[in-house]
Every structure is written in C-alpha cells, then in structure tokens.
C-alpha cells in the first residue's frame, strides 16, 4: 500500500504549497504504516522534498508534457498509482491540482474531497474536515470507497520537517495524445499571484478610482504582497477580474490580508475568512468588515496608506 503526494511545480521547482501537501500525506502514511511517494512532474530540484520525509520521489520529465494538461497529468498519476498499489492521493488546492483531481477520481474509482482543512479525524470511516458554503461553514465528510483523493486548502496544515533519504525514481509514463492545444499564454506581469502570496493587499471602492491604485501597489510592493480587490471594483473595470476576491471570485487563505476601503459585504468576508490575520482600513467606523477583522484603523485611506507604506519601508530596512 502507498500514499501519493502530488506536488505542483513552477519553473521546474516545487511550488510553496508542495511541502504542506507532503506533510499532510506524511501524517497519513504514518497512521496507516504506508509508503509515502511524492510525485513531481517537470521538477529538477528534489533536494528540499527530502526534508519532509518521503520514502520515494517519482519524477516524470518529458518534454511533451511541459505544459500542464489535466487529462494527461491525471493519466500519468493514474499509471503511477496502479504501479504502486496506491489507495490515497493527496493534492494541494492550486488551480491545476483541482483541475486534474476530478478526472483522476473517475480513473481510480475514488471518493474525492476538496478544500480539506485538517488531518483525518477518523480512519474508519475515513473522515476529514472541509470548508463549505464558500467558507461560511465547515463540515465533516467521510469517504466510503477504497481509493481516496484529498485536496487540501493552502495554509491549512502545518509543514513538518522530517529528514529522509528517499529513493529517486524516473518514471517513464505512457503519454496519451492531447486533444486540447495551448494556443497562447498571457502571464500577468511581475505580480505575485494571490494563490502564492503570504500577504495580500486588497482595496475597494473607497479608493475612488483606478488612478489611485498606485497607493495600493506601492504598499503591496513594500510587503512583497499580491494585490486584490472587491467585486464592485472588478465589475467597474478598475481592476482585472483575476483580482476579484470573494464568494464568486477568488478565495484568499493568506497569512495577512489588508483590506483598504472595502466595507465588507458578506460575500467578500466569506472569501477571505480563511486568512489568518485581517487588517481593515476604512473611514467608516460602521463598516461591517471591522466585525470580522483582527486589527482596524478608522481613517482616510489616502492619508493612512502612504504613511503606513513609509513606516513599513523603514521597518523592513531595519529588520532585513
């Protein structure tokens, strides 16, 4: 029996989320005395993976699958599962993992639970906690099938270093033909994506117009943060849809979420509720967001934000 931790990569390195996924799978492998296999597609640097305790690392390097393709990646993982008698596959909550997981679940005839936020609370039946109703609640879900797939939310499980000396195996997968062609890719320039960021600086209609966004971008740049926005701001076209945070936009599960000029509609609060620490800057002391935040400042964003930026710059200069 084995457990597979599938990790996403970018630029041939594991993504940050990888170590959370491996730690989650390591915990299950210890409970079930099963072998832990990390599966990495298009990854050269595997050193850091060994710090999280896998028994094996299976790497698949094939020029024909350098672009992510959910059907092909699911097929490759499926072949590895069959070869290693895998019953549990653990993935992260990234867009690519969640793209391929439902496909893999049909191949493996597996029960699949997404958005999982904690270690299994029970193994008979196998039960995990996940978020539901767009982060407004949680629920316990059990899986009754023999094969199981778990996709964990980012920032929901503590990474744990356990040094191991894994065997590294190159897997020669049979790659099926792709029926979908990538015509072009438009990467957002120089920005940190919301999914990868430790800190997100987000702003709403209180910024009065897109021409004032340099204040937000400057603060984000000081904090090495991603920028985000509220729904009205993306609906008005001030910012791209990809920055829209909330129930119908992106969920944010980051360490620090700074909301500037966002009143805090229930849909927005749901989208950011998994973030650890929330700071609100708003000139309206009655803004609902103050009820959902950890730290608050009642003040004019146009005065507070530049001042805060200067002070943070000084702080960063001192502490680096």
């Amino acid at each position: 029996m084995s457990i597979i931790a599938y990790i996403e990569s970018s630029n041939r390195e594991p993504k940050k989320s990888a170590y959370e996924v491996i730690s989650y799978a390591k915990n299950i492998s210890e409970q079930l005395s099963a072998e832990l296999i990390v599966v990495a597609i298009n990854v050269d640097k595997t050193n850091e993976i060994s710090n999280y305790g896998p028994d094996k690392i299976i790497v698949v390097n094939n020029q024909s699958i350098k672009n992510f393709n959910p059907k092909i990646y699911a097929e490759v993982i499926y072949q590895i599962c069959i070869k290693n008698s895998t019953n549990h596959v653990i993935l992260g909550g990234g867009a690519d993992s969640k793209f391929l997981a439902p496909i893999l679940s049909i191949k493996l005839d597996a029960g699949y639970v997404s958005n999982v936020v904690g270690a299994p609370s029970n193994y008979e039946p196998f039960t995990v906690k996940r978020t539901s109703f767009s982060n407004k609640s949680f629920c316990d879900v059990s899986i009754s099938s023999k094969n199981k797939i778990i996709s964990i939310s980012s920032n929901s499980f503590e990474k744990k270093k356990i040094r191991s000396n894994p065997e590294i195996i190159e897997f020669d997968a049979e790659i099926p033909d792709s029926k979908i062609t990538q015509a072009s890719v438009d990467l957002s320039k120089g920005n940190i994506s919301i999914a990868d960021a430790d800190i997100v600086v987000s702003a709403g209609r209180g910024m009065k117009g897109p021409e004032n966004w340099h204040l937000i971008e400057n603060l984000a740049s000081t904090l090495n943060a991603a920028t985000a926005c509220s729904k009205p701001v993306s609906d008005l076209g001030w910012r791209p849809h990809s920055e829209h945070v909330g129930q119908t936009g992106k969920p944010v599960a980051t360490n620090l979420y700074i909301a500037i000029g966002i009143s805090g509609a229930i849909q927005h609060l749901a989208g950011v509720s998994s973030s650890k620490v929330k700071v609100v800057i708003n000139n309206d002391p009655e803004a609902p967001f103050f009820k959902a935040a950890d730290y608050g400042i009642v003040g004019d964003a146009f005065e507070v934000v530049p001042k805060l930026n200067e002070k943070l710059k000084a702080f960063k200069a001192e502490n680096n």
Binding site: S10, K71, N115, V141, A183, Y295, G296
Partner: protein, 248 residues
C-alpha cells in the same frame, strides 16, 4: 448547436448559513435559492450562442422538486427545456454519474457547468463528467468562442490566462468573464409567462451510488475582539503585526 447547461440551486449569496437536524442539514428556513452564480454566467453565455448561432439550450439539475422554481427561472431567462433528475444530491460523484447517463445518448455539442457551486464548492462535477464520457474539459473558463466544430477558450490559471483550442464536444467549468455581471438577464414578464409553457421533464435517477457523505456542519468560531489602532500611531500597527500576529 445543442447546449446543455448544468444548474446548481444554491442559497442566495447574501444568505445567513444555519444548520438544522443536529447540524446535519442546511437550514433552508427563510433562504432564497438561486441559480449558482458560476452557472448563471454560463447560461448567459449560452443565450448569446442561441441568438448568434441559433443554438438550443437545455438545462439540467439533479435535485428535489423544490428546485423547480430555480429551473423555471432558467427557462424564463431563455433556456428551451429543463430536465430535473429526481434525486436528492448526495455527492458530486452521484450527480456527475446521473448527468453523464443522461448526456450519453444525446448529441450535445457543448456542456456548460460552473467552476464550482457556492454551497459545497466541490469543483468536481464537470471534470468527472468529462472523464466518464471521455470529452474535452476546460475549467476556470473566462471566455468561450465557438466556430463550427471548434472551440477557443481562455482559462484563468495561477499567474495568468491561457488560450486553449479544441474540438467539440466540450464541457467547461465557467465563471465570471464568460460574460460580465452587467450582461446577466433578469427575466422579463414575457419570459416568465413563456417559461410556464416550456417543458420541464422529471426523470428518474439512473443510479444512486455515492462515495462521500457529509455528516456534520460547523460554524466558524466567533472572532476574537478587534484591536483598533489610532491612524496617528501606525507604529503600533506595525508592532502588533510583527510581535503579536508575527505576520511581518
């Protein structure tokens, strides 16, 4: 062109979420159900194909009779026919299996579902259908054009957008961007009247196997009291974030 739009019936986004039956069921008391927002963007895009390419639109839902109000709304927006598979939705696998069984014998060119529903947020059903029926699948889809038997779609990925091309049939997981918020249609009186005459077929579920089961719901713990910081004392905020919250 034949289009099928998969519809989830979900609580309105402003709903307060409460549970009943010892926290094992969602409390529908006083809750208004709507077309899942991601599905509504897809339905609205389908309407565009109906007007431009003379496409026909069927909508499908797996659920109980109470969902018919929401299906009637989809008909009032402009779908031609609604299908309800008469079964309580237990998990995504059961829903995907039943919809796949329905699709199998039909010749839909395009199947539109949402990226995720806003109640269970599984992001599973369209991907599962695509694998059960072995058809092309693109999720997080923010743009879709059809030209003859070819589709060009844009997918939001982490850090950018990719443009993908493939042949029909195709199933997508749609989201905002397929159409804009301002393109969403509120049914007019004529649409509502017409919807009453349109077919709403109820069919028996083909099978009821499920693989996962939700046992108990929890509400998040109450937030601890907020700490207010004077806008003239921003050093205090930096101190709290550094020493207390340890996030910078």
């Amino acid at each position: 062109m034949k289009i099928l739009v998969c519809i989830s019936c979900v609580p309105d986004t402003t709903s307060k979420i409460n549970f009943t039956n010892n926290d094992t069921d969602f409390d529908t008391n006083g809750v208004q159900f709507v077309i899942n927002p991601n599905d509504e963007f897809g339905l609205t895009r389908a309407m565009w194909f109906k007007e431009k390419n003379n496409a026909s639109i069927d909508v499908i839902n797996v659920g109980e009779q109470s969902n018919e109000t929401v299906l009637r709304k989809a008909l009032a927006i402009g779908a031609d026919r609604a299908i309800r598979i008469d079964s309580k939705a237990i998990d995504s696998y059961q829903v995907a299996k039943n919809i796949s069984n329905f699709i199998k014998e039909k010749s839909y060119d395009l199947i539109i579902a949402g990226r995720e529903s806003i109640d269970y947020n599984g992001s599973m059903v369209p991907g599962m259908i695509s694998e059960i029926l072995n058809i092309n699948f693109i999720t997080n889809c923010v743009s879709l054009e059809i030209n003859g038997s070819n589709a060009t779609a844009k997918r939001e990925m982490e850090g950018g957008i990719e443009t993908l091309t493939c042949e029909l049939p195709l199933i997508i997981g749609g989201q905002k961007g397929l159409v804009e918020e301002s393109d969403l249609k509120i049914p007019n009186m004529r649409g509502i009247m017409q919807a009453r005459q349109k077919p709403l077929d109820v069919i028996a579920p083909d099978q009821s196997e499920f693989k996962t089961k939700t046992h108990k719901f929890f509400k998040p713990e109450d937030k601890k009291e907020i700490k207010m910081v004077d806008p003239d004392n921003l050093d205090k905020l930096i101190d709290l974030l550094h020493n207390e919250a340890k996030v910078i």
